[in-house]
């Protein structure tokens, strides 16, 4: 029997690149086929029937035809548009950041349903509640785990002894925590407090609902952020592009874009 010429799949649009007059090439993360690129013809025309269903960060069900090089999207229908996430700059920025990380951490055509599910859940969570930062931290920790970079948080990665309830250190190169006696003298390894270690362990073990119940103060959140960010950079070998944008959004007012003479007078 000849292979099917068309197939359906469920996918999230990670990235859209323009191609030619009115076409786009989409990077998709599908539930059952992993990450792959596909062509959407005519989606940049205003009357395209597919355009709205193929925006970045949309979860859609797609009908594709095998193409000579890239497969071609022939029909698309939105399952989740994640509308609440799209209405706020920080939430949308977080969604784009999540999509970029998924794009960088996955390999083409390698099925990875856990990562797909993690992204769908994260995009949903970004639209609800106040925990945008915690949602992203949970996402980073889980993505590292699903991509095969789960940090060792129970034993020292150098001596293998169980970690004691004292301030330990974290070695990104070693892939986990280092106990105080194994810490190389004068090394700049970031410290991991007992609380931070517990939070990280919970994130990798428990569901988001349990993590969301935690009340983490600002300093703990920023420790968590820099630690996870370090681990993410280590695997990607460079900073995610959307990170600069997220950082800019955090500034009290967006100083970079305002010329000195036009700055609002306080």
């Amino acid at each position: 029997m000849r292979p099917q010429r068309i197939y359906t799949t469920e996918a999230i649009v990670l990235r859209v690149r323009r191609m030619g007059e009115a076409d786009s090439v989409l990077t998709l993360l599908s539930a059952d086929r992993g990450k792959f690129d596909a062509v959407a013809r005519g989606v940049r025309k205003p009357t395209s029937r597919k355009a709205g269903h193929l925006e970045p960060l949309t979860h859609s069900t797609l009908l594709l035809a095998h193409g000579a090089n890239l497969d071609i999207i022939t029909q698309a229908h939105t399952l989740h548009a994640f509308l609440p996430m799209r209405e706020d700059l920080r939430r949308l920025g977080g969604g784009l950041y999540a999509a970029e990380l998924v794009d960088r951490f996955t390999v083409e055509r390698e099925e990875s349903f856990p990562i797909f599910r993690l992204l769908v859940e994260t995009l949903g969570r970004l639209g609800e509640g106040e925990h945008v930062d915690l949602t992203l931290r949970y996402f980073e920790a889980r993505l590292l785990q699903e991509a095969g970079f789960r940090p060792q948080l129970y034993q020292c990665v150098t001596c293998g002894e169980a970690l004691q309830p004292v301030t330990n250190y974290f070695s990104v190169a070693g892939g986990g925590a280092v106990c105080p006696s194994c810490r190389p003298a004068g090394s700049g390894l970031p410290p991991v407090s007992v609380t931070l270690l517990k939070v990280l362990r919970l994130m990798l073990r428990a569901g988001y609902a349990d993590v969301a119940r935690l009340r983490l103060d600002e300093s703990l959140m920023s420790e968590l952020e820099s630690l996870l960010r370090l681990a993410v950079h280590r695997q990607l070998e460079r900073e995610p592009r959307s990170l600069q944008f997220l950082r800019e959004l955090r500034r009290p007012y967006l100083a970079a874009a305002i010329p000195p003479d036009a700055a609002p007078v306080p």
Partner: protein, 204 residues
């Protein structure tokens, strides 16, 4: 590089290569264009060459709206009949042509020359945002209309500029979102339909 360029005479090969660099021109189209120029009259060829040089030499960016122009400020910015209280922010100069065809908008424009694209590393300093904020300082502008393409990157840009401009006491609006003429409800996505319902208009 097109394979024919090695067998064609050197000047023709050079022309083919140059055409091939243009967007959307493949090797065959480049050959066809080059042979068309070869057969064209000298006047026609010179007119083409001069037109190309002319845009490069005479066209600059308007110091006010950043549109491409041959006189600075451009004809829209220097016009006395246009409304100075409204600025319509667009992504590319071509968008101005589209909006001008409607003959509805009487204000002035501002071209960003791109949109914020966190995934491609395009940030605020890569766009003409400083120039836009600089135009809002003197209090004559009452409203900024965001006419940015309604996609994820456009939304990021619109919301970012709103956050930047609103504290200056200038009203920020965006183009309505809804169903395009000739569209089919059956195929509309939920974001568009939601917006279309929210922004529905009384009939008549």
């Amino acid at each position: 590089m097109p394979e024919s360029s090695s067998v064609a005479a050197a000047p023709v090969a050079r022309l083919i290569d140059e055409f091939h660099k243009l967007p959307g021109i493949g090797p065959k189209s480049a050959q066809r264009l080059a042979y068309y120029v070869l057969r064209a009259s000298s006047d026609e060829a010179r007119a083409l060459a001069e037109a190309i040089l002319d845009v490069k030499e005479r066209i600059t960016f308007c110091s006010s709206c950043q549109n491409i122009t041959d006189v600075d400020p451009c004809s829209i910015c220097s016009s006395t009949t246009r409304d100075t209280s409204q600025i319509c922010v667009v992504e590319e100069p071509l968008d101005i042509l589209a909006l001008e065809r409607t003959r509805v908008f009487k204000g002035r424009y501002h071209v960003l020359h791109g949109v914020l694209s966190p995934l491609n590393g395009i940030n605020a300093e890569d766009l003409k945002i400083r120039e836009l904020i600089g135009r809002l300082g003197d209090g004559s502008v009452i409203e900024v209309i965001m006419a940015i393409n309604p996609n994820a990157e456009g939304d990021v840009t619109t919301m970012y500029l709103e956050r930047l401009i609103a504290p200056l006491g200038v009203k920020v609006s965006r183009l309505a979102r809804g169903l395009p003429v000739g569209a089919d409800l059956e195929f509309a996505d939920e974001v568009t339909l939601t917006r279309a319902l929210e922004n529905r208009q009384p009939v008549g």
